[in-house]
């Protein structure tokens, strides 16, 4: 029984992090209809920037947690202004391909500059140990990462449900044309929302830095899990991303515990089942899907 609790907690810890990592993907898809393949590369950039800040400027984890998302927001704004914007009117496939190409460029550029073996990063002071209750053990950092992730998801949720900006974003997500016809310049919100989504990817990257390999390729596998998360949750649904993130974390942990070889396959089996039963995902709206 205590093993089961252990696996459940590990699953939830990983799931909280998945939720945060997928959140930006969901936000960008929701408002722009862009399937941002470069989300994984932006996550990687977040981690790499954190590592470089630490190595070259002695900027630590806590500051990076604040600074990196700001830098990535700027990067996202540039990306939207210079590239994504020009393809928004076309088939979504064009932006998918654009961001796919951008991913290759970013990954290659990081390889050229920082090599392939990866960059070192330390666990922030005080979070290196474990928290034990009975026979159940969790890494302090994993607990922190999960709590922080869920807190950020909640904050984004509050921003969306309790502010006028959130109201406009929700309306633009649900029905962009109608929202324009009600006097709201949806286009003006597109750039900051895109930047915000990229900033969230960067934030997830910083959070990953102490616990995962910081390499140019670190996002290449991860993005696939994140796509599974947003598809399960419903493309564009923020609540869906959070619930699906936790669900995927749990399913993965149970898979590892009881059928290790199939640990990753079960995630995609779950995705297939959800899509078969509810093509628009758990929290997706039909009109979005």
């Amino acid at each position: 029984m205590s093993e089961f609790i252990q696996y459940t907690l590990q699953g939830l810890a990983a799931g909280g992090f998945y939720a945060l990592s997928a959140l930006g993907l969901a936000v960008i898809f929701g408002v722009l209809g862009v399937v941002n393949f470069s989300h994984g590369a932006c996550y990687m950039l977040g981690a790499v920037i954190a590592a470089v800040l630490l190595a070259e400027l002695q900027v630590g984890f806590w500051v990076a947690l604040l600074v990196v998302p700001i830098l990535m927001f700027g990067f996202g704004v540039l990306m939207e202004r210079l590239l994504v914007r020009w393809l928004l009117a076309l088939d979504p496939l064009y932006n998918f391909l654009l961001t796919f190409g951008l991913t290759l460029i970013l990954v290659e550029a990081v390889k050229q500059r920082y090599g392939v073996s990866g960059l070192p990063y330390e666990v922030p002071a005080g979070l290196g140990g474990q928290v034990s209750v009975g026979s159940v053990n969790l890494s302090a950092y994993a607990i922190f990462a999960c709590v922080f992730s869920v807190a950020v998801c909640l904050a984004v949720g509050l921003l969306l449900t309790r502010t006028r900006i959130g109201m406009i974003v929700r309306a633009s997500t649900e029905a962009p044309e109608r929202t324009r016809a009600l006097g709201i310049n949806v286009g003006r919100w597109v750039t900051p929302v895109f930047g915000f989504g990229i900033a969230l990817a960067g934030l997830a990257g910083v959070l990953a830095a102490p616990t995962r390999a910081i390499t140019a390729e670190m996002g290449s596998n991860f993005i696939i899990i994140l796509f599974a998360v947003v598809v399960i949750g419903g493309l564009g649904s923020i609540l869906g991303a959070v619930v699906a993130g936790l669900l995927v974390g749990l399913v993965e942990a149970y898979g590892i515990a009881y059928a290790p070889t199939y640990a990753q396959i079960v995630i995609f089996v779950l995705m297939a089942l959800v899509v078969l039963v509810r093509p628009s995902g758990l929290f997706g709206r039909e009109e979005v899907a």
Binding site: P120, Q130, R212, A213, T215, F222, E252, A257
Partner: protein
């Protein structure tokens, strides 16, 4: 012979520039007196991963190691050198067997490579072995771990210079078990390399008198190892063995360090390179035991060579860099000895040769399977680095005979 040497030396000197100008094209100038060297020059082909996971391990800096060998060869033989013109050509196989295959073909045929070196990644390595066999040209593998190079896929022209997975298993699993780490749980990535490693480690643990409680396969690649580590800790083993490589290994170790096993269970790593320690940071790997084929700060001889290497690259050499140097140097020595770059003649000089150089200690090019056997080392990662790249304590030298065992019975040289 002697009377012709002077003549041919003049001819080679005269034609060297012509040969360069002709760029090795087919039907290039054939000076009458220089039939000993095909195309009047020796071409070393460096085929490795210039952009992927093994880039830092060998990659572009292995070219520097080859050039150091060429310099040393020229300095040693001067006017007497058989190979007056030595070129290095490089290519990136991107860790793909099909690309390795076509690049090797191109190197042997179009670029007139007399020998191909390095080729990390087992699938790519085996593809090149087939090319070497068909083209009857030399192939000195350094970077790959597969025992098939000196087993089922062995051939007259293929030599395996630095290490193989069986050596890693004997070195790490054997030694740790003998020293008291008798109960193991192993986590391995679920593809050919990981499965091989799991098998050879399990076998070696058993041979040394230990037992493996469970072997857990993890998907490849994988980012989240928390639950794998929990499982690996079940049954309270003395040792947890990670058979992962590259990014997976770093993920595993980072998350192991944050788990409750840290400090209670010995972490043994199947395949680890100094570049992995460098990228993760020495403190993260502190105390981890693994088998290293060579360490730059092991003794004065190594250190001296590493200093030279650092001057040119601003980094310390991995074992692969040193092994590339050793392989190139011994190839050139064999050419010198044979007086020709004819492949069969060079193979004849290499086979059975006993070598002690900066890389090989108590080395021998085993005639039976072309494994280049030598002493290897059980290393333990230091808890802090006295200087950058000074990461390893060598706990034990594992003698060549112990590390390499008997010649691979699967190999038949035909």
């Amino acid at each position: 012979m002697r009377s012709r040497t002077v003549q041919s030396t003049v001819a080679i000197a005269a034609s060297a520039s012509l040969a360069l100008a002709a760029c090795g094209g087919a039907g290039g100038p054939q000076s009458g007196g220089s039939t000993k060297l095909t195309d009047d020059k020796v071409v070393l082909g460096l085929l490795n991963d210039q952009s992927g996971v093994y880039k830092d391990l060998s990659g572009p800096n292995s070219k520097v190691a080859l050039e150091m060998a060429i310099d040393d060869y020229k300095a040693k033989y001067g006017e007497k050198a058989v190979a007056k013109t030595i070129e290095v050509v490089t290519a990136d196989h991107q860790n793909k067997a099909d690309i390795a295959n076509s690049k090797a073909q191109e190197m042997y045929d179009r670029q007139k490579a007399d020998v191909i070196l390095d080729v990390p990644n087992s699938a790519a390595a085996l593809a090149v072995a087939t090319q070497a066999k068909n083209k009857k040209k030399l192939y000195l593998n350094i970077g790959a771990g597969t025992t098939a190079l000196t087993g089922a896929s062995c051939n007259k022209y293929t030599f395996h210079w630095a290490y193989n997975t069986a050596v890693l298993a004997r070195g790490t699993a054997g030694t740790i078990t003998q020293e008291g780490g008798t109960s193991w749980n192993i986590v391995y990535p679920d593809y050919a390399f990981g499965q091989d490693m799991n098998k050879s480690f399990s076998a070696e643990v058993a041979t040394a008198g230990g037992s493996v409680g469970q072997s857990i396969a993890s998907p490849f690649p994988s980012d989240n190892f928390a639950t794998f580590i929990t499982k690996a800790g079940e049954g309270s083993p003395k040792v947890v063995g990670s058979m992962h490589a590259g990014g997976d290994l770093i993920n595993f170790v980072k998350q192991f360090n944050q788990s409750s096993l840290k400090g209670k269970v010995q972490l043994a790593v199947g395949l680890m390179f100094i570049t992995d320690i460098h990228s993760l940071g020495v403190d993260q790997f502190a105390g981890t035991q693994f088998t290293d084929a060579w360490y730059w700060n092991f003794d004065e001889q190594n250190k001296k060579w590493a200093d030279r290497f650092k001057e040119k690259t601003n980094t310390r050499p991995s074992f692969a860099h040193a092994a590339n140097y050793s392989a190139a140097m011994n190839y050139l020595e064999a050419v010198q000895e044979a007086g020709t770059d004819d492949a069969d003649a060079v193979v004849g000089k290499l086979e059975g040769k006993k070598i002690n150089d900066v890389f090989l200690r108590n080395g021998e090019i085993r005639k039976a399977d072309h494994a280049v056997t030598h002493d290897v080392y059980l290393a333990k990662v230091k808890s802090s680095a006295p200087e950058e790249w000074d990461y390893e304590d060598i706990e034990k030298t594992i003698p060549a005979a112990e590390a390499y065992g008997e010649a691979n019975p699967a190999c038949s040289m035909s």
